[in-house]
């Protein structure tokens, strides 16, 4: 992503989910002359959240940008908005070479599941690039897409995670992402 204008902001909006949120937010951004350079939204449990990279030709106070968007919300469903200057490089690129893996965990729901697994991963410099969790009945499913430094022995990580899963009554698997790519996508993104 390369921003259209030099003044770049990250904008975060949360609201009850209903039709018209994106239209309202983008109208407010456009009223400041802003351009949307990237955006992603998700809806979870009836709540809407949106993250955008916005750039403007002239500098704008992030507080003004946030207020402009806040004003666009309906009174019975207000927007919670945050805006700040975006850095040129949003996060440090991992210095170690990494490989993409997927962790999946299934089991009886209890507090602390996500914490236990994420603490283990954080302790090994494993970056979570996408996370999904859902409670259905008493069952909880956790899926994480991970960047695993290649210095780790995958067999050891698998054994650790499976052991942790066993202690929590969870079935845990750590698998290279290419098996999911191979079984789902028509055009293979990895090379043979």
């Amino acid at each position: 992503m390369k921003a259209r204008f030099d003044n770049v902001y990250v904008l975060d909006v949360m609201s009850d989910d209903h039709p018209g949120i994106v239209a309202a937010v983008t109208t407010a951004v456009e009223s400041l002359g802003g351009n949307i350079d990237a955006c992603s939204q998700t809806v979870l449990g009836g709540y809407f959240t949106l993250i955008m990279i916005v750039s403007t030709p002239e500098p704008v106070d992030p507080a003004v940008l946030a207020e402009q968007v806040r004003q666009a919300g309906a009174s019975n469903s207000p927007f919670q908005v945050m805006a700040r200057h975006a850095n040129a490089t949003p996060r440090a690129t991992p210095t170690d070479p990494c490989d993409r893996f997927v962790i999946t965990a299934f089991g009886k729901d209890q507090p602390g599941i996500v914490r236990r697994f994420s603490q283990y991963l954080a302790g090994r410099d494993i970056n979570i690039v996408d996370l999904y969790g859902d409670r259905s009945g008493d069952e909880f499913v956790l899926i994480g897409q991970l960047e695993v430094p290649t210095r780790w022995d995958i067999g050891m990580l698998q054994t650790d995670l499976e052991q942790m899963g066993e202690e929590l009554g969870f079935t845990v698997k750590l698998q290279h992402e290419n098996v999911f790519v191979a079984t789902n996508q028509l055009r293979l993104s990895y090379s043979h």
Binding site: V102, T104, V129, D130, Y132, V141, I143, Q145, I154, G155, Q158, T171, K173, L174, Q175, H176, E177, N178, V179, F180, V181, A182, T183, N184, Q185, H192
Partner: protein, 457 residues
């Protein structure tokens, strides 16, 4: 970025439905092991196999673990033994087979295929040595598998070879009488033998293949059966077209997994990747059965009218899904119906629902033939030959691979139950109707000429 539903559906297939890679077979050209002295042949053979295959098992296990998919069987296939036995005799053949057996054990693989003779147009001296040594070879080795190609679209059907194999089968059965004739389970008699088949007992390294290659056999029928059951539980008013589509999608995904693993194993071993074989190969495990798929498709008794059509639909859908998934499809690539290795088929034989003639009809629309069928030990060699000839005719006329793996069980009669153990399973001995009524036909000998289909140029 992968979507959550994609990850969840793959996880369901991998873990709930026990997706695996059924066979990784390293095929090796061993023609350069030929030498004037048999000791020299065996030394070269052992050194070549061990140096090329010693890392196969460990590599398959490591790559399988990385993707969370077990590789069930690791195997070797070599150039036809007849190519290194030219100029040698019976004793040399047995010594070579023992060397292969020991080399396979040293590498930790479960079978080595390629004790093979290609005799569809005629029998050379070396082919005769291979064929006639089979009773000793298959009774004195554990891991050596043999195959004999007796017919092809281009050459027709070599009835002399078939007649000879009828007698050889009975001798193998006698030589392994203490194991209920089990030696015959390690021998496949083919029409149009594929040069890149990863499945045993018929795997061998064909003449047009590279120095070494990895061929893959994909997961078994359990995954397809589970996918069908899940779809049927979720939706009403499904047609056979919908079910064929479900099989096709499952086959696509299963094939992709096979190729992913195969290419990585090949790259790690520094050998060429060959093919993915789409065949659904059942095991005696409950649920891992082609027969169970037929039941799921609504055939209450396997062998009932409709069985052939159901197998045809299954076979075709598997091919369509697999062919789109990979540009390297080969081997047998169909649905296997090996009776003793498929609990539902063996049960249908026991119940009297499935007879030899219906099995033969089903093999005309699927892979691979009359497979793992126990027959009475007193079946005449000519009748066995005639059964083989019928199956070969299906292959030659329909331009497909067909094969026969019959086990005459010494001392057993129709209805007796035999258990070969492990992946070979158990089955009732099948009734052979009209035994002894084909002798004159078989005794004519010679070669049934190549059919019209051979003149395709």
């Amino acid at each position: 970025m992968l979507r959550t539903d994609e990850i969840l559906s793959t996880i369901e297939m991998l873990h709930a439905e026990h997706l695996d890679v059924r066979a990784v077979t390293l095929a090796l050209n061993v023609e350069d092991c030929a030498a004037p002295s048999v000791d020299h042949v065996c030394r070269k053979l052992r050194n070549k196999i061990v140096s090329r295959a010693r890392r196969l098992v460990e590599t398959c296990n490591r790559v399988g673990a990385k993707y969370g998919i077990p590789v069930v069987n690791k195997r070797l296939a070599i150039s036809p033994a007849s190519t290194i036995l030219a100029g040698h005799g019976h004793a040399a053949a047995v010594q070579v087979a023992r060397t292969l057996d020991a080399a396979a054990a040293e590498c930790g693989v479960d079978f080595v295929g390629g004790f093979t003779a290609l005799v569809h147009k005629g029998i050379s001296s070396a082919d005769a040595v291979v064929m006639d040594s089979l009773p000793e070879v298959l009774s004195q080795t554990k891991q050596v598998c043999a195959s004999v190609n007796v017919a092809s679209r281009k050459a027709g059907i070599n009835m002399d070879a078939i007649h000879r194999m009828g007698h050889v089968l009975l001798k193998i059965a006698e030589a392994t009488a203490d194991q209920q004739g089990f030696g015959c389970a390690k021998l496949v008699i083919f029409a149009n033998i594929p040069e890149d088949n990863p499945f045993m007992a018929g795997a061998y390294m064909g003449a047009g293949e590279p120095e070494a290659t990895i061929n893959i056999g994909v997961s078994g029928p359990g995954v397809v059966c589970s996918a069908l059951k899940r779809r049927l539980a979720r939706e009403k008013n499904l047609t056979l077209g919908d079910l064929a589509e479900e099989i096709k999608i499952t086959s696509f995904r299963v094939t992709r997994v096979g190729e992913l693993i195969g290419r990585e194993v090949a790259a790690e071993l520094g050998v060429a990747f060959g093919i993915v074989d789409l065949s659904l190969a059942p095991t005696p495990m409950v649920g891992d059965s082609v027969g169970e798929i037929l039941k799921t498709l609504g055939i209450a008794r396997i062998g009932a009218p409709g069985s052939t059509a159901a197998v045809a639909m299954l076979n075709d859908a598997v091919k369509k899904g697999g062919l789109f998934a990979s540009s390297s499809v080969g081997g047998l690539s169909g649905a296997f119906i090996p009776v003793s290795e498929d609990a539902a088929l063996a049960d249908a034989v026991g119940q009297g629902h499935l007879v030899l003639e219906k099995l033969e009809a089903m093999t005309s629309v699927c892979s691979v033939g009359l497979d793992m069928i126990a027959i009475p030990g007193d079946t005449p060699a000519e009748t066995i030959a005639a059964i083989i000839a019928d199956e070969m005719a299906i292959g030659v006329i329909n331009d497909k691979t067909t094969a026969v793996r019959l086990i005459p069980v010494p001392g057993a009669k129709a209805g007796d139950r035999v258990d070969f153990g492990g992946l070979f399973g158990a089955t009732p001995v099948m009734e052979i109707r009209n035994a002894g009524a084909s002798d004159a036909f078989v005794h004519f000998g010679g070669r049934i000429p190549a059919p019209l289909q051979s003149l395709g140029n």
